[in-house]
Every structure is written in C-alpha cells, then in structure tokens.
Amino acid sequence: MTSELDIFVGNTTLIDEDVYRLWLDGYSVTDAVALRVRSGILEQTGATAAVLQSDTMDHYRTFHMLERLLHAPPKLLHQLIFQIPPSRQALLIERYYAFDEAFVREVLGKKLSKGTKKDLDDISTKTGITLKSCRRQFDNFKRVFKVVEEMRGSLVDNIQQHFLLSDRLARDYAAIVFFANNRFETGKKKLQYLSFGDFAFCAELMIQNWTLGAVGEAPIDLDSQMDDMDMDLDKEFLQDLKELKVLVADKDLLDLHKSLVCTALRGKLGVFSEMEANFKNLSRGLVNVAAKLTHNKDVRDLFVDLVEKFVEPCRSDHWPLSDVRFFLNQYSASVHSLDGFRHQALWDRYMGTLRGCLLRLYHD
C-alpha cells in the first residue's frame, strides 16, 4: 500500500511556522521530518512518523506554490488562490526575505551576478547553510536589487513598497543593495571581524549623507544621467573630496589642526600620548581615504582602508572606544577653527558620516 496522492487544502491556508522555517532553511522533506521528529513533536501530539511525513509534504507543497507569489509580495496580497490572514502574509514575506548573517557577510558587496551564484556552493560549505537556502537568499538580494535598481526616490521606501518588508528588513536590504551597487569590499580577512550590522549601519549613514538623494532636492533632478538617487554615491561630492587634501598637504594646517585637537583633549584621553604621536598618521589616513574616493577601485576599498588606516592603528595602541569618540569628535570639530580651510561644509558631510562609521567599526 503506497500513498499515491495525499493532499490537504484548507479554505484558510494553513501555515506551520516551524515547517516554514525548515523549508526556508532548505531542508529536504526527509531531513525536515527527521528534524521535526527530533523536536519531540511526535511525543507531544501522539502522531506517527507517517503523519508527520504527510504533513511536511503538504506544507512544502503549499510553500512551493506560494513561492512564486513571494517573489512579488504585492501579488501575495492581491491573489485569490490562497486565503491567508494579513498577519500571516506578513510573516510569510518577512521570513522569506530574512537572511542569514553568515550568508550575507559572504555576499555583501559582491556583484549579484551569475558568477557569484556559482560560488554559492562554496559559501554553502563554508557557512553550513544549505545550498537551497543560499540560493533563495541570493535570489532575494538579486530580485530586490533588480526591482529598485532603476527607481528614483528613497531606497528604503522603494523596497518597502515593492516587497512589503518591515522597516528593519527594508533597511537591511537597502544596505545590501547599496553595497552590491558600489561593490564595497567586505570579504578581506581584515574585515572579517565586522558584522553585517556594522556594514548596514555604515551603509545607512552613507545613503543618508553621501548619495544624490541625500542632497535633498537633487540638483540634477532633470539631468538625464541615470544615477539612482539613493544607490550611487554623489560623484560631485566625491570629486570635491579632493579638496580636503589640503588638511594634510599643508604642513601648517596639519600642525595647527593637531595642536587644536591636542589642546582640547589633553587630560581627557587615556591614550593621549599615543594619539599625539599618531595624529599625523591618522589624519593623513582619513584625509587620503577621502581624496582617493574618486576612483571606483578606491571606493570599493573604503572599508579596507578605514580599517587599515584608522581602526588598526588605534586598536594596536589599545584605544578605548570612548577615547576614539573623543578624538573623532574633536578631530572633526577642530577643523572649523582652521581659518585657512574653506571646505567646512564638505568636511562635515564627509567627516560626519565617517565618524559614525568609524565608531561603529571600532571594535574587536
């Protein structure tokens, strides 16, 4: 006696959250059943393995049918085939678009292309996340990217509108899309200590301050250049950043800057002497990063540079985070007192964001 066909269809589509999770995690039906058995569900409910198998198959089939709709979440809301309460719809969507930290760290900043997709095998092996799940997550990134790529307006809003994600998740996707678009390098060994949250935080700051959209009423609104408001860095701004070079190129300016900072921080910093000794190096590092951002290659290496030029030196001197904060605040603020420096607004736009990023990146 074999079961040829075995289905259950409810007027309200039944969604089992646990099974959904297993499905999203890419387990095969057999594995999922084994995992469910291990969870002790049989004892709790008095069911048999066969029942569990049938139940799991059923849910998997439902999810498989839903998947097509989940690719365009608004469709899930308007479709008539599955009657699902809105709260459940939201859950389905949110979970479907959720991703694993380990996975996203591997892919963050990479081009969402077929080439990367081929590497998913390796990522799967490395992270222990099933290939299926990796594919789903990768495809999600790619899909979101494709949809919002050409859109104007707020990246987060666009994502939220087209994928009906929660605010938190939409922000994460904005970061992913932003990183993928700008191809920031995040995979270097040096950067391994950074979490996705760290990058997402930075991305948000950069989107808010360094992109075209950040300028508010974008001056080049009517310009035919297809720069996406939130996704691409403001090229003009990057160009202008060269002007900051004077801060380190001009010896006087540099000395003056240093003395201003040192005066202000004397006695307040545990690592004052180290700071004093390193000031020029640090300042040179930060300003050079800015000046180099005109080249795409250097934009990609932004985080590597920041870590190399700033985070690592400070860390090797054991600066506490509070001291880093004092220093950066003072370092940014002191520039306003440099009479010979004319690019205050530019400096603020640059340093305001960078300060936030550095503080976030500064940890073990």
């Binding site: 006696m1 074999t2 079961s3 040829e4 066909l5 075995d6 289905i7 259950f8 269809v9 409810g10 007027n11 309200t12 589509t13 039944l14 409910t45 008095g46 069911a47 048999t48 066969a50 029942v51 569990l52 049938s54 139940d55 198959m57 059923d58 089939r61 439902t62 498989h64 049918m65 469709k75 809301l77 308007h78 479709q79 008539l80 085939i81 599955f82 009657q83 309460p85 809105p86 709260s87 459940r88 719809q89």
Partner: protein, 1098 residues
Amino acid sequence: MPGKLKVKIVAGRHLPVMDRASDLTDAFVEVKFGNTTFKTDVYLKSLNPQWNSEWFKFEVDDEDLQDEPLQITVLDHDTYSANDAIGKVYIDIDPLLYSEAATVISGWFPIYDTIHGIRGEINVVVKVDLFNDLNRFRQSSCGVKFFCTTSIPKCYRAVIIHGFVEELVVNEDPEYQWIDRIRTPRASNEARQRLISLMSGELQRKIGLKVLEMRGNAVVGYLQCFDLEGESGLVVRAIGTACTLDKLSSPAAFLPACNSPSKEMKEIPFNEDPNPNTHSSGPSTPLKNQTYSFSPSKSYSRQSSSSDTDLSLTPKTAPYPQGPRIYLCPSSPSLSCGSLHLKKSCLLLSESSLTPHHSSLVSPVLRKSVSFSEELFLAASGMGSGSAGKEGGPFKALLRQQTQSALEQREFPFFTLTAFPPGFLVHVGGVVSARSVKLLDRIHNPDEPETRDAWWAEIRQEIKSHAKALGCHAVVGYSESTSICEEVCILSASGTAAVLNPRFLQDGTVEGCLEQRLEENLSTRCGFCHIPYDELNMPFPAHLTYCYNCRKQKVPDVLFTTIDLPTDATVIGKGCLIQARLCRLKKKAQAEANATAISNLLPFMEYEVHTQLMNKLKLKGMNALFGLRIQITVGENMLMGLASATGVYLAALPTPGGIQIAGKTPNDGSYEQHISHMQKKINDTIAKNKELYEINPPEISEEIIGSPIPEPRQRSRLLRSQSESSDEVTELDLSHGKKDAFVLEIDDTDAMEDVHSLLTDVPPPSGFYSCNTEIMPGINNWTSEIQMFTSVRVIRLSSLNLTNQALNKNFNDLCENLLKSLYFKLRSMIPCCLCHVNFTVSLPEDELIQVTVTAVAITFDKNQALQTTKTPVEKSLQRASTDNEELLQFPLELCSDSLPSHPFPPVKATSVDYSSFADRCSSWIELIKLKAQTIRRGSIKTTVTVEKASPVGDGNFRNRSAPPCANSTVGVVKMTPLSFIPGAKITKYLGIINMFFIRETTSLREEGGVSGFLHAFIAEVFAMVRAHVAALGGNAVVSYIMKQCVFMENPNKNQAQCLINVSGDAVVFVRESDLEVVSSQQPTTNCQSSCTEGEVTT
C-alpha cells in the same frame, strides 16, 4: 424579451505573459451570452489592462437567463496568427433573478483555463433588468429561491413545506463524442463545462417550475449531482424540498435567526417565529392532496398562474379533511397501521423461512440483525410480475398505478431536510435505504430520460414502502447517490422513516404553532424516540423498553437516522464519529455477469456494514446514530462500503449493553485465554470511551420510576423480569434477556479480524472531537474560528494476492491515517471539533482507492463546555457509578441461548434490486434482501442545551477573530459545510453556488506530480468559489459541499485530469458582536424582504 443583461468589463490584473518577446500581453475580452457575443478593445502591452468597456447589453428570454451562464473569455490579440485564449470565467447569473438575493455581481474573478489553471483575474460588473410582469416571471420559474442548506434557512420561516421535488436531465457527454478525437483537450473540457453549466441551469429551471406548480417559492436542501456515465451519457439530477418561505422581517427575529440553539429562541414570542427552524409545516399526505387539487398538471398551473394569489392563500384556510388519514396521530401510530402491518409481517415471516440459504450464509451473528421485511416480498412480487428493467415498460404501468393512487397520497412524501422545527418530527422509525444495480446503455433520446426516471422512481417507491413498514408515512433526511464503474451503476437512496406532526401539514399559522407548542410541552418531549410501529407486529425484531424519559411510551434500544440530532434532544455526554469500513473483492466481469456479482455481494456488505456500526456504537457506549450515510462504491474488481455517522447517547434510550465474545472451540485452553483477553480489552475500551465522551447516564432508581426498564446491569434475567413484571408486556419481557450482550462469535479468522478491527479505531487525541452532523452533541459554546478543508488521499494497493482481509486493513488504515493527519494538522485549533466530516470513496482504477474528506474544524471554549452535559433528567435522578457494574457484568451464559432472537434491532432497511437485469439473466431468484431496520427515537429536552448555547462567548471569539482581515485587500470569504457560522448571524442569502470545473494537465511532473496538481486545483476551486461569493456581495458560503472529485491520472503519459463539482449557499453574515452596529442597516433588508413577500406570497 423579459430581461436585459448588462455586462461591463472593467480591468484585468496579473495576466500571464503571452508574448515572450515583450514579456507583455495584448489582451481583449469576449463576452458571450447565448448566441450573442461582444468584444472589448484590445488593450495593448499590459499585464494589467484597463478596458473600462461600455455596458454590453443582451436582451434575452428569461428561460435563457436561467439556463445559460455568462461566458467571459480573455484572449491575447495576435496580428498574424489566431488569438490565443488566456482563460474563461463562467458566471451564473441566477442569483440576480430573484429580488432578495444579489442585485449586482461585481468583482474580481479568477480567469480560469482548464489546462493552465488560474491565470490572472478580471474585474466584471453584471446587472439584470427584468422588465416582465409577475405572472410571466413565474412561468419561467425565475424567482424561485434555491438553498443547499438542509434546514429552513436562517432568516426565513417556512410557511408551508410542500415536499419532494426531483428532476433529471440527460445529454451526451462531449468527451465521448466523435468530435472529441479531433479537438484539443481544452476545447473538449470547455465544451463539457459549458454543457454541464447549461444542464444545471435547465435542471434548476425545471425544478423551479415544479415548485411553482406546488405553490412554493423556494427549494431547500437542493442537491444536484452528475452521473458521468461515460459512453452512455451524462445525467444531471437534482432533488430538493419545495417550500413556501417567508423572509423574517422583524428586527427581533433577526437575533435568533440563528445558527445554533440560542438563548433568545426561548424568549421571543413564538408567533414572531424567531427561529425559522421552528416553523415549517409537515407536508406529507395532505400536501399531496393540495398539490393535486391546485395543480393537476403543468399546463393548468401555467395558465392559471395569474390566479396564483388566490391559490396560495387558500391553503391557509382550507381544511384538510384527509390530513390525518395516515398514521398521523403521534400518540397512536400503531393503531392506524396495525392491521396492515400484521399482514405484512406474516408474509415476512414466511418469506424468511422460505429462504434457508439466507440464514445459512451469515452465521449465527447474522441472524441477530438481519430481518426480512415485507419489502422483500414486495420487491419479489414486483419483479416477478414485470421484470422491470431498462425498457421501463412495466414500470410505466406501475407508475400509472401510482399516479392514480396519488390522488389520495403524495407520490413521495420525502424531505431532503435534516433539521426541523421542534415538534415537526413526531416519531422516527429508523433508516430506510434501497439500492439497485443497473446496466447502463446509451440514452437514445435525451429529451425523454425515461429510463433513468423509472430507475429512480422504482427506488423511491421502495423507500416509501420501507417507511410504511416502519409505520411511518414520511421519509426525512432523504438523499440519493450513484456509483458507476464501466457500464454498471449502483443507485442508492436512503432516508429516515418518520411520522410528522399533522399540525405542521397545515399552514404554519400562529395559533396552530402555539397550540402545538403547548401540546409538545405537555406530552411529547421525548416523542421522537418513541416507536411509530406497532410493538406487537414489529417489522423486525427489536428490543423495546419504556422511554427512559417519559416512562410512558416504548422506545427501541438503538436508533439509527440520517438526520441531524434534533436541537432539543437530550443527550448525555458528547458524540463521536463512527465509521464502518468494508471492502469486498469481486471478480472482473462484463455486463450482466458483473451486475449479478455485484448484486450478490451487496446484501452481505450491507449486513456487515451494519454489524460494524452496531459493534462500534456499543464500543463507544452509545445508543443512537445520527447523520448516517452509507456509501457503496463499485470498482473493477472490488466493492467498498463506507458508513459514517455520529454516535450519541440519547437519554431516552436504554443504556447499551456490552459486547460479548464467545469462542466456538471451547476446549482449547490457549484459545480460551485469548478470548478472555480480547474480552477484557473490549471491556476496557468501552470503559475508556465512556469516560472520554463523558457518558454518565443517571442511575435509574427503580423505586422512583416503577421500574419498567430492563436493567442491563443485572446479571440475572429472572430478577429483572420480576421487577418489570408489573407493567411490562410479556413478549417484550422475553426479549429483555437477550438485550445486554451483543455477542460476537469468533469461529474463524474473519470474525477474529472483525474484533480486531473494532479495537484498532483510535480515539481522536484529547481536545479533538469529530462528528458528521452539523453540530457536535454535547458541545455548544463554539467560538468563531472555523477552518473548512478538503483532504484527498489515493493509495495504490499492491496487486499481489489481495485478500478481503488485506483489503479491509488497507482501507481501514487509509481512513484512520487520514483522520490522524487531520487531527495533527489542526492541532493548533484545540480544543476543537471536526464537524460535518464527509468521507467519499471512489475507485478510479483497478488498484487505486481514493478517499476525499471535507469537513470544518470549529474551536470551542472548553470551560463552558463542561456545564452543558447536565440535563434536567440527570439532575432529578441520582447519580451513581453505574459504569463499573455495567462493564463487568455481562450475562455471559445467556448469550448462547439467546442467539435466535436478536438482542439488537437491526438497523436500517436495505434492499438490493436486481430488477434491471433480471429479465436478462433471471438470476433474480436469488434475491436476497437484507434489511435491517432501524429504529431510533431520541428523547429530547432542550431546555438546558438551549440556555447554554447562546453564551457562545462573545469575549472569546472577539480575541480570536480580531487579528485577521485587518488590511487585506481581498475580502475574507468563509466556507463551511454547515448551515450556520458560529458566533455570527446570517442576514441574507445571495443565491446558490453551483460550480463545475475540469482541470487537465499534460505536464504532470512539472506541476508537482499528482499531489501538486490536485492540491493546486482544489485551491483554485476554493478561490473561484470565494471570488463568486465576494462578487455577489457575500462573505461566506454555507452548506458547502464537494459533490464530486473525479481524478484520473496517466503518469506514463505525464497526464492527469480532474473534475470537481461544488455547491453551497452564498450568504452575508454579521458577527454577533457587530450586530448592534449593523442594526441600522437592517431597514434595507427588510424592505427587500417585504418586496419579496409581496411578489411571492400574497
């Protein structure tokens, strides 16, 4: 030109990509009604076209309006080649034809293609302007309301229940026409869908005409079925109960127009007729007279339709002198029919003694429950005289005779209703059923479907005579079904023989009802359990006792019915789903030989199914079955029997005895041990079940009652008879001794297996209950969370050495596993009850068994549930722990000598009819008629139940129902097989939903195999039902039923095809908690209803 149909195509969305190059679609729409077609403009390059068309107007006959569906086809425009069809929408415009229902159909409909399934949606608006006058209107039967619900629909009251209406229409099946060889599967499927749509429209119209002839305005319990007879054609048949309904208009009536017994019911003055259920008039005989006198013929009624008004008024005042003619007196049913019965049972006796092979074939146990009643006699003689058969010739004669006698009697006093107003049912006699095996052949003249008509007439006649044998003049809870395999067809009909209250036969006037009510209260509370037949001349051996409730009338010890538990019945504890499952192998054969083989098997199946039911009922410690439905399915090489019912413990019926196992070979020590082991297991199970279902019948103290009741607990029969001797009739006394033990003899492996199978049924996990009736006896605090579902399973039997035992086990496992799966899936709803569990078995191929289940899970509030079990009876009597005694003491020795007279009344009458092929093979001599009859009556007393019913905890369901449907863009449409929605009031019926779909695939694997294919299809069917309801302005479908789910696969060709037929009533419901808010809207409804009344009633 009595009607103008107006259609507007607004927009489409989510269309499929039809042009690969552009990834877009150039869509346009064809709107077709009858022979007229309109087209919209092509909306270029969009998957979400906005046509915003003008109003397409069709000027059509009202006959067409009823028959034809509106057909909307969405196509992709192609400049160079033929336009590609995207899909279709069929819209049944019937709901627009009666004023109370929907006024407009407007909404998003899934665009359906039989090959690809749903492909996007289309927004359509449909209106109908009827500019005909009333009389004209009526001739086409527009305006007759149809309800699938098998009780008086909430928010209506029955003025008169006229009775049975039936009709059938036949046609050739397009799938089997020659043209099918050259057309595409899509064209063929669409031709079929359209044809069936047309046929159902026609059928409905014809039934409507019959209703109008009877002066009714509605059909309740409308059940339409398709018989796919393959080569020989396509039959669409329908049965229903014609009624005159009044819309309840007073706001007061709205509250209680309700679902379940509710508190208000009692408080509302009766003349307001708060509960539609309360009202209805029993038709039966007098009605027939009525029909006859008013509308002797179609033509007459047509011509006289202008005088309808007068006619419909007459019934109210017209006396029915002949009314009480037939066993109508509740108190003395036996008197009126006594003599008749006497004769018949004599005949019976002789008949049975003349057929020795009969008793031999069934071993001792058989004797217990088989009885031959006069029906055998009847059938035999009928056959002898006419050899009935396909030609229907002899039958015509018979029919003519009937017609003559119809002057005095209703042709078929049948009612498809399963729930009735209190007082309507006087007595219930038991289940009556009839089956007949027929050979199909091509229907030569579709316009004269005489053969099929005659077949059914024959079966109905048989049912009627069964009912008569039970001393009943009517059959309630009546249904018909077929099972077809190749050219053999089994026709089945079943129902519950009943005596109806003569008062309800008259117009349901206020005074009548009041009076009735009083009378009921005074005398006949437990009346429905009391036997309608003469106890001295019982149509079958039954064991009678005095009613445990009133102590005055006799009741049987077990009662089987096909109806729902009357709302006012006093039940102890909870009920449970009881199923009997059975398979029998059969040799493959052709035509007559096959039919003969089947006919020979049927009686045994009937008998075994019945025995199983009885055993299981005992095992549950219960004494009555409701909602009994026995399905016999025929396949190439086997027959399957599946009976489902809801077991309950009726307080008015005696406590059931236990089950006694007896071995045939007493010398074998180990065998004895085995037996006693089994016995112990059985006893344990009974004890466990009693606890599980909270069956604690009150101990009946003999001093109080005067002890007319046999005490099953007493070991000694002598003692018992002493105690009873005072007022018991002697012959009844004799039977008492046999009553407590139901003996199972284990004399071979078969019997052994029976016992095993008894014990394999696992009770549902805690927190779950299940029943196949509308509501679960003993639970009435439903919350509003419901989940309707359909589950389908197909298993493939290993073809190697199939035996009956292996087959039975497989089938049993299949059903049990299916139930287990359901419990598991729905575990989040605990505490919950699966209601209206409806199993359907089919045998699509040689080694395949398909089981389809549709049911609804309803959660209930556990805390409140506990209190409801107490009944006044219980309170008044002392409680004692009777269980132990009962369980442990079986009159072990008595069983053997008591065998000849069966302790248990066989339940339910069945007959197998060979007449159709009798003329050919003359095998009819072997006729075996098995019929067990059932009797059942329940005592009822609803007071307490009613009180507990309404608190359906507003609080509870509010919490539960709050979260969903907050921002949904798609309105939630509930679906339920029940006639009500817990925690809500139905405020409006929008019309019947009756849809037929075919889905076919040639890429089975790609669609996820058979499971993926069917899963998607059923989900699509639900979606289309919901969309139609939503477009009518409704938010629920009640009395939903999946009547057919025919699935065929050919994995080798990567193909599969499935046909599904569903129906239900589209309704608008309002949450009880929202009622106050809504009350402001009610005037509208009232207005409408009064309009309707104007048209129809006055």
